[in-house]
């Protein structure tokens, strides 16, 4: 790990994680869109 705070900040930014349920939320909305398409 570098001592340079700028490099540390960059490293932290590269390690940002996505919310745990993000993909599930997206896919539930995708399923809604599909249902709407079928209902039309």
């Amino acid at each position: 790990m570098t001592d340079n705070p700028y490099e540390q900040w960059l490293a932290e930014r590269r390690q940002v994680s996505a919310p745990a349920k993000l993909a599930d939320y997206i896919m539930s909305q995708v399923a809604n869109i599909e249902r709407q398409r079928r209902d039309i």
Partner: protein, 180 residues
Amino acid sequence: VGIDDRELVRRALAGKTNDFRAIVDRHQLSLFRFAFGLLGNREDAEDVTQEVFLAAFVNLSSYDSTRATFSTWLFTITRNRCINLLKRKRPIILTDPNSIADGTSTDPIVRQELSQQLDCALAALPVEQCSAFVLAEIEELPYAEIAQIERTSLGTVKSRIYRGKQRLQSLFESAMKESK
């Protein structure tokens, strides 16, 4: 593993929703990080990432693999969504360089403050610089792909990244000088 994006898109267009899930799983992290870098907060980044995938799903048939990779297409949609949101939310005040915390400190609180101030400084960059900087320095994409996403020349991308880095690094240097 091993199925490329074009094949996943083809399958999703054929109605295989699970293959769209594979697309989401593959790209959600990089798109979220990019949105987070541009927007500066997780809630907005999450909203934009969701919107991007829904827009991609609805408009999947318009994706042209001869013009861009699927990843580039998604980054372009993300960039445009973020810029639209920023236009509604800005102006953001640039942090005074003299108020940046001491960059040499090992105190975790000071470090955290410094990191937050850098986040603010990043958000305060002109949006084109910010976008190119995040794609290059955080997502570590090749400059040629960034030029495609930004719809500009390679030279302009290099210049934006250089200016963004200079700006952020100068904030640190100012802080270090102030502390001596």
